[in-house]
Symmetry: C2
Subunit: 445 residues, 2 copies
């Protein structure tokens, strides 16, 4: 095995491709990066002697199959709905497949066939999902092996701006998919506390954010994710009385974001006809309905969201531009799309800005009659707006796993996520060599 | 033309099929009623000499085509996603097609072909959408023909329980699709007031219901529909400064329904694992999250929804059973599904209960320098829980339109909704002969 194919050369691919090209010469691999935007692929490969960039329209069956047929391992960074096509080809042509995306039910349904062909199909190999599984499972298994019984597992991740580059009132800049920033939390968050289910609908989620102490960093805040219960079985935590996953933000973010939800700016369900002709002011006004008892638009909105007109939340909204008389200039867009475009401008990382990723797991367990709290924290900052912590922490677990597959060090075939010991041990060991390491603290409680 | 095919013999088909069979002998037609449930079709046809019931699996292409090939006019009461299949067959085989469902973009895209083949494809021939279009367009055209200029159009419809059968604290019983009762208003309501767009997100919609005076009936309340802007162009109202469509309920309904939304009971986005083992009490408790400062569940919920624990809203919630210790007994169901099953029991029309449909249009217009308000109201009660006003008002406009197509009285081919004068005039005239008539009142304002 010496040929790796990377499908997709978007922004999030940089760290992965750099890692693979670095390793390629050492290991006598050849890396092909395919994208429908040839220039993007060429930029990433940058005339490297162990790699090449090619143009590929991945929806063209014959072209796609021809390219996959010539490789040993496929890494798909395509939008999730295209993974299915690629997976079918890989299964047919007998190629291994890695992705950073959520593993769908459709994917899992192929598990038997994949196993029979001794292939490795693995998803959720990025940051979250990805590194969260690996780092949590390592601790969970260590606790179990030491005779401990888990009573609570809390896991929080945030893609943030580093404090030294934080210069806006929201204390947030975008380091990942902006669409997901806007739609975050839509649905119902589910978690378990005191052995009971808890369901938090979207319209209450951000008002229920709670403070969290991040080791060495101070106080942040977290809100619950939709998927806390999703990994209960994969983690072997079916009977645990407390289980929650959440998202980390700087204090105050959730309260202000909740104001955008209350006003209606996060709705993605209807296009506004002729939105290009409206101003942000007019759109904000349109959300008022008949709630216009106060005299100015700002007073009406303050009234609607139950905040003082000169409050911190109102200041954040004004800074964002939702009271601006500028034209929206987006045709027939949903409120969510209009908000996304606004955030892309206002929350953009400047060239030399550093982003920051925080991941913190909290494990409570009983061992020999005593109760412990183990806190395990990773804080990583990026170098600048191109070399972000986010892109490294998404790309490196995927790249390292690829290396292990190429070297024949992963032996479990089938469709999996990286909760397997053989995967997380190798990945976390190599990340540690790069200085990417969780800080642990253990206290009796 | 003498053969009519009705696809679907569900509960809402009764009034339509009875009307068609009555007309069939007078006009020498033969009516075939096809359903995958033969018994249901047989019950509806009831050995009528001018009709027959047949078994049909409509997803079987060959069977479906064979049946459609033998008819002149198809009336589809199938779920909307199946209309497309039927429409393709009708186009291929040259048959007219009528439905009571919303006309989709996919349907409209076939308009040229349908017109070229001189076929009539018409949708939205029920109550709402259906009779609302017909009755509104008649008045709108009369006002225009009299030289009036419309300045406001408000249109409200409600499927309710008749006052004499109203014996529950919600003052509501189910006379149509219960799923739609639960999901009502999800999305963002859009309307126009003072020449400006208004957008009302779901989480504010029911708290903004307003009182309405229904002619001859007293005070009810209305909340805005999602689709107020949808018919702006079809009605020729592109420049109207006020346009709203809404849903009529008895006073107090919206405030209590809003409580169910706030708690989280209308969410259809996630299945609750093992919901069959939970009680309603436990589910309600799960929605509390960390909001459990008060001592009892009822106090916590009252606190969450900002109501007194002995308020009318709390009384309605308790009557519904959301604090009951009974098991839910529905496997892996969403909250919305659990609520739907609860409402089906609690809001069921008893055998001799009468339902009631109210439709009220309000037109403001200027004529010869004076301003007028024309109010046009239909109130119709059902006979009992089988012979509902709802099923008559859904079935009769469809049946009458079918009769007009069979008689060759409709001459406009293509894909349409009944805003055409030739359609609404004939349908409204025949409804009037049956005593189904709008009461008008005109005042200068």
């Amino acid at each position: 095995m010496n040929k790796i194919l990377v499908l997709g050369a978007g922004r999030s691919a940089t760290a992965l491709i750099n890692y693979l090209l670095d390793e390629a010469c050492k290991n006598s691999w050849f890396v092909t990066v395919a994208d429908s935007n040839l220039e993007a692929a060429q930029q990433k490969v940058n005339d490297h002697s162990c790699g090449r960039a090619i143009w590929l329209n991945v929806t063209n069956v014959e072209d796609r199959k021809a390219v996959i047929a010539k490789t040993d391992l496929v890494i798909s960074l395509l939008p999730p709905f295209l993974h299915t096509l690629v997976a079918e080809d890989c299964l047919l042509l007998g190629k291994h497949l890695l992705t950073a995306s959520y593993v769908s039910q459709g994917f899992y349904s192929k598990a038997d066939e994949v196993r029979e062909k001794a292939l490795i199909f693995m998803g959720e190999l990025g940051l979250d999902p990805g590194l969260d599984h690996m780092s949590a499972m390592q601790k969970i298994n260590e606790i179990r092996e030491g005779g401990g019984k888990l009573t609570a597992f809390r896991s929080f991740t945030g893609g943030l701006v580093a404090p030294e580059s934080d210069d806006n009132p929201w204390h947030y800049k975008i380091s990942w998919n902006p669409r997901n920033v806007v739609l975050a939390g839509q649905g119902t968050a589910q978690y378990i506390k005191d052995g009971k289910y808890k369901f938090v609908p979207y319209h209450r989620l951000f008002s229920q954010a709670v403070p969290i102490d991040i080791q060495g960093m101070g106080t942040y805040e977290v809100y619950a994710n939709r998927d806390s219960l999703l990994y209960r079985s994969s983690y072997g935590l079916d009977d645990i009385p407390q289980l929650i996953r959440g998202t980390i933000r700087y204090p105050g973010y959730s309260r202000a974001w909740n104001a955008l939800i209350k006003i209606g700016y996060t709705n993605a369900d209807f296009p506004i006809m002729n939105s290009e002709d409206l101003t942000y002011y007019q759109l904000t006004e349109a959300f008022l309905g008949n709630n216009n008892r106060a005299s100015t638009l700002k007073e009406c909105i303050a009234d609607l969201i139950n905040e003082d007109v000169d409050s911190d939340v109102m200041h954040k909204l004004e800074w964002l531009g939702i009271f601006s008389r500028k034209k929206i200039n987006l045709k027939d867009a949903t409120p969510a799309k209009i908000l996304e475009e606004l955030l892309l401008k206002k929350w953009k990382l400047k060239k030399n800005d550093k982003d920051m990723v925080i991941m913190q797991h909290e494990f409570e367990y009983t061992q020999n009659g005593k109760n412990y709290l183990l806190t395990s924290t990773l804080v990583m900052k990026g170098e600048d707006s191109q070399h972000t912590a986010m892109s490294k922490l998404v790309g490196l677990p995927l790249g390292i796993t690829a290396k292990m597959v190429m070297a024949g060090k992963l032996t479990t075939p089938g469709v999996n996520i990286p909760v397997l010991k053989e995967v997380y041990t190798l990945v976390l060991d190599e990340l540690e060599k790069m200085g990417i390491v969780f800080q642990d603290s253990l206290v009796e409680i």
